[in-house]
Amino acid sequence: MLYSLFFIVALICVYTARHYVFTLNRLFGFQRHPYIDIDVASWPRVTVFVAAHNEEKVIWNILAALMEVNYPKDKMLVVPINDRSTDRTAEIINLFSEENPGRIRPFHRAAGKAGKAAALKDAMESADTEVILIFDADYIPSSGLIKQLVAPFFDPEVGGLMGRVIPLNGGTNLLTRLLDFERSGGYQVDQQARMNLGLVPQHGGTVAGVRLSALREIGGWDDNSLSEDTDLTYRLLLAGWKTVYQNRSECYEEVPETWEARIKQLMRWAKGHNQALAAYSFRLLFGKHRATLRERIDGFLLLGVYGMALLMLIGWILALGLFYEGVAPLHGVIALLAITAYGAIGNFAAFFEIAAAARLDYTRQRIYLLPFLVLGFAVSIFSVSRACVSQMLAPITGAKFHWDKTQRFRTSR
């Protein structure tokens, strides 16, 4: 028990150090935005896929926004993927397509496997452009975004690309405000630091792009994956393709407004991520492939982020158990130092990261909400742990993975 606890504490220390390295890099390090200056080029043809499953509340907004972007009209094709929708999504897409002839090619999917990866896989069979961009239906791209997202593909090493996601409804309630914080920390600090340090920025599956030849080289989308974006990141990495992050390519999204929707989202992400952990961690660390040593280490740590929630929970239980067993792992000054260091540094690593993100975003009063993150943290740790446990028990219980679509809250056309 004692050694298990030490192991968990060591892992927590590694992740704490990682938070600090990322945050300090963002505050004081060299910032890489190599492609953002490409404002003039011979722009290639691009296909923009919009994944939509029962998205009647939001689909019109994104299609309208895509018609207004400053990308050459004759070089951009929008493909809304109506994935087995049972609401008015198909009707809205068809209406929009009629109003914008030649610029939209709807893809209606009436049957087949559930999930975004499966829908993308089917829809992309007809893709013939080297650059593919992907949006979820609740996103609202700005005028210059498509050019910004295409620009990194001029780099022949880039196989995948991720832009920054910004909550549009962040001010709705406490949950959305906390999610606004989390997104800020995750993108403004975490993703950009990984970009700066030559590590593994994660493909997010939306406000994102992929090079068609790279996708075909790695065998296309894996429709068994619950988290197609994480899966894609690692398969590209193992094949020697880079996924890059563009912090200044920002796009609005809608975040969950109820705790129930948030917990479902978290559990789906956790399961998908853990699926990738099981599939790629050993190969990533020890396999013969093109990833560099730092990419192997960072990639492994990134795969383990959801698993850490469960480990931390186990750590708490172990610590309590040992305490009541009368075992004292540390004594005297060492114990005092350890507790002080944990309280002063370790415990606040993630908070420090998010606070740094808020500063980098030039926000002011919202930083006061930082203490409430404990609430979001508690919900996360238990939801993710629950997802991990149910995933581990799935072979025994026979439970099947299923796709939980994130609920939409916007009211629109």
């Binding site: 890489r32 404002d39 011979s42 620009a151 022949p156 962040g170 001010g171």
Partner: protein, 353 residues
């Protein structure tokens, strides 16, 4: 003290001390003073002409008065809605009004309704609008310039924020051009000029001529032409060699004289191109880059740490405009770029060695 009261007091005090640090959070949660979504700018799209467009719409209200000044040959003065004073000049002789009594500073927004030649050594604190051709004097300082025709700056002049010419923009030797310089036709900078961001269909850095290359737009990013060669160490492409793939070298990359790459090229460390190299795709270095004389690059040219370009090199063409970007760019006299040159820290045109 009654023990029950003591307990209640203790609980109250504990509660207060617990709530106290959360007060700012509770106030923010209640008042939502900073609850707006982060501002994603939808319109500008990084447009280099953003400020000149803004100034043009600001000056539009004065154009009728400016036209009257031209017809009557008399100047006019007034105040803009933002409080800035303006001066409208419609006759060549009026240019002395920008520096009355030998003053070297002009504090008004100035609009010229005709071709104008400005005196030397004047500092313009506010924007200048020129309906005709504007020729600046030597050692002048301009905050911002909008010219409906050509703009020619005299030697050792400075643009502090931006300049846009509908016609061509020319700067004589040793000018410092901070911020955004754009032209709808051509930019020509003589040696010694420093710059940051330039945009025009043709940018001549030093003495250079524009010419079309025969590369079509589709070759810049077309997978059907080639595969990808990924090398984990340094790579050398021999002189005269023709490479039909995209190249990625995770070490240094050296391309010999006269070689041709039909795809795009990337290196993680220093990239060096010798004379006469031709790259049909893009050129990307995660480190520094040296482009030798008389090279032809079709796609974007990006270096993350710094770039030197030798004389006679062309980046892009009229048919395939492109972007050249690095924190520092040193360009020899006689380089042509078709599109954008963006030196985040500083660019410099140096005399031919």
């Amino acid at each position: 003290m009654n023990s029950a009261i003591a307990v209640v007091l203790l609980v109250l005090l504990t509660g207060i001390f617990f709530i106290l640090p959360l007060l700012p959070a509770l106030i923010e949660l209640r008042l939502k003073r900073d609850a707006q979504p982060l501002n994603v700018i939808h319109e500008h799209a990084g447009e280099i002409r953003h400020f000149s467009y803004g100034f043009r719409s600001c000056i539009a209200a004065l154009l009728e008065s400016l036209h009257k000044c031209v017809l009557s040959g008399t100047p006019a003065r007034g105040t803009l809605p933002n409080g800035d004073r303006y001066l409208l000049l419609g006759h060549t002789d009026d240019t002395r009004l920008v520096s009355p009594g030998g003053k070297t500073t002009c504090e008004s927004v100035v609009a010229f309704g005709m071709d104008v030649v400005l005196p030397n050594g004047i500092t313009f604190d506010k924007e200048i609008y020129a309906a005709g051709q504007l020729t600046g004097g030597e050692k002048s300082v301009f905050r911002a310039l909008l010219g409906e025709q050509d703009i020619h700056l005299g030697r050792a002049s400075t643009v502090v924020r931006w300049a846009h010419a509908v016609g061509s923009f020319r700067a004589k030797h040793d000018c410092d051009l901070y911020g955004r310089i754009s032209s709808d036709r051509e930019i020509e900078l003589e040696s010694g000029c420093a710059f940051q961001r330039l945009n025009a269909p043709h940018i001549a850095l030093g003495r250079s001529g524009a010419e079309e290359t025969d590369v079509s737009a589709d070759t810049v990013l077309n997978p059907s032409l080639r595969g990808r060669r990924l090398v984990d160490e340094d790579l050398e492409i021999r002189a005269g060699e023709i490479v039909s793939e995209n190249i990625v070298a995770r070490g240094k990359l050296h391309i010999g004289a006269g070689a041709r790459v039909l795809g795009s090229v990337k290196s993680h460390k220093h990239m060096a191109l010798e004379a006469g190299v031709r790259v049909d795709g893009s050129l990307i270095s995660a480190s520094t880059m040296h482009i030798g004389p008389d090279c032809r690059i079709t796609g974007p040219v990006i270096s993350e740490h710094g770039m030197e370009i030798e004389t006679g090199t062309h980046c892009g063409s009229f048919g395939t405009p492109t972007t050249v970007s690095a924190p520092t760019i040193q360009v020899a006299d006689g380089v042509s770029v078709f599109g954008t040159v963006w030196a985040r820290t500083e660019g410099q045109v140096v005399a031919q060695r």
